[in-house]
Symmetry: C2
């Protein structure tokens, strides 16, 4: 990457989540110029450390990009981030997000910076629910002239199931499946074999099937241990089986609660969306998948454009 290439940058789009920091440098027309990423999620930054960490992480770019705006989404806008940005309440139009941007000054006067608000709504259980960052993926993935009802699922540490009407988020439900998967495979009796292991398609499918039987999730989880103990399952396939149990239970409950009337749109890491697509298929539910990283970049660019942010040097 030459200095001349970098100087074409018109927007720094940042996805700053709990575990990771990802930044994309975009040209005025939305073309991707460069990318940076670091395992520097907000949980790994001291309360007062955000300006210094941001300056450091963007140091390959900033000297070449005076005045270029930085647009940030994700947990950086939470109470544990740089500044707590109020949630927009659902039903909320994705087109209203631009109006909720909050100006911040972690980079002083050199580069203006903004944080995207998250969304707050009610879930299928009529529980309060929240998201920060996923709204940008939805924005980036959505057809500009979307109409009617659409169900989206964004798998991850805290998976989101979202009901959209046109470009309006009606409601959404979080499932902490990914978070629970890590905790259960590393910190319960299953840790002896499920802590390691590669993905295994057959064991995953076996988990999807098992969880459809009676007994409940807490019972099915224990079968990972007994099947290995009694020689019915190879220990190295137990983590894939566990993944099948958890994703299978999540998808079963959500399909039952939401009853999608058309394809579910999966947005996320392709390694995850392929698993959810299979689980959905077992429930007679078709789906289509969209890459999550591309959706974030595209969503931030759209939002910045709407807010009149990108500027050439």
């Amino acid at each position: 990457m030459t200095a001349a290439d970098l100087k074409a940058g018109a927007l720094i789009a940042v996805d700053w989540g709990t575990s990771n920091f990802r930044a994309t440098l975009l040209a005025a027309d939305g073309a991707v110029i460069d990318r940076l990423q670091a395992p520097k999620g907000i949980l790994h930054v001291e309360r007062d450390g955000f300006p210094a960490v941001l300056t450091e992480l963007l140091s390959p770019w900033l000297p070449h990009l005076p005045g270029v705006p930085v647009l940030m989404a994700g947990m950086i806008g939470s109470a544990d981030g740089l500044v707590e940005v109020p949630y927009l309440a659902c039903p909320a139009s994705l087109d209203d997000i631009a109006d909720g941007l909050v100006r911040v000054t972690p980079l002083g006067e050199a580069n203006p910076a903004y944080i995207v608000p998250g969304l707050r709504g009610q879930s299928v259980a009529d529980s309060p629910d929240v998201m920060r960052g996923e709204e940008i993926q939805i924005l980036g993935a959505l057809d500009p002239d979307a109409r009617g009802e659409q169900i989206l699922c964004l798998p991850g540490t805290h998976a989101k199931w979202v009901r959209l009407n046109g470009r309006t988020v009606q409601s959404f439900s979080t499932c902490m499946t990914g978070d629970a998967y890590s905790a259960l495979r590393q910190h319960t009796i299953l840790r002896r074999f499920a802590a390691g292991g590669e993905h295994d398609a057959k064991a995953f499918r076996r988990g999807l099937e098992r969880v459809r039987r009676p007994g409940g999730l807490m019972h099915h989880l224990f079968s990972a241990r007994t099947e290995v103990l009694l020689g019915d399952m190879l220990p190295e396939t137990a983590s894939a089986y566990l993944s099948g149990l958890l994703i299978g239970d999540e998808v079963r409950a959500m399909v039952e609660a939401i009853q999608p009337q058309s394809d579910v749109t999966l947005i996320g890491d392709p390694r995850l969306t392929v698993l959810y697509a299979e689980a959905l298929e077992r429930h007679g539910q078709s789906s289509r998948s969209i890459d999550g990283d591309q959706a974030v970049t595209h969503g931030l660019y759209q939002l910045a454009t709407r807010a009149g942010l990108p500027q050439s040097n």
Copy 2:
């Protein structure tokens, strides 16, 4: 405890589980003379360390009790214990357990020692399932002339739901609810508030109710976070709420799968059985509770008597 008191000991009954070691010294008539316990479960003992640890833990008693037999139940008979003792296959009569005792020699010739076999069977999901130690609690809790079908539940790290016919264990299902509870409250996003906190009856009940709504367990778990985040729940009550969600989901699934035709018999720590009794009541299911520690001692004594073990000095 005087040496003269100890000398009346006729049986050392040991419950050696994953996390804890508990020993009871019994007179020939079954009266309790003394108790010992230590946080020295089999996970805290090196593979070759069992004889030395047992000698050390029983050192207050052994010099006074040459020849007195030691009867051990629990995970000490697993592949990670002193010796792997084969499971009895269900349906198995509790009266057959005595025939499966395995003689071991961790104390050399000074004191004969025996390990109780566990049980192996099929669960409500037709999964293979196993228990080690709970069979002794069932034996100790059971009416000697029990007839007909009876459903028992033994809450704990790995709760067991057992279908008995007379004195025969027909089948049983393990739910790793307690194990998952520890992992989820300490190693997920819930850890910030759910890792501590006292029991709170109202929050527990709120969890029992919440889990009856649509959305599935992985969704309901996240509501512990959002309710606290949005000020709808005091952070210090989140662990009790989480407990209500998990126990509520377990009880719902098990009552649905087993459909008990009469009172469920709860055997365990009274602080836990009272929670399960409440969860069962919410599902219109009556129960009665029996203290688990007393059941273990009583069960080991019965078993020893049947095997002709207790002997006076």
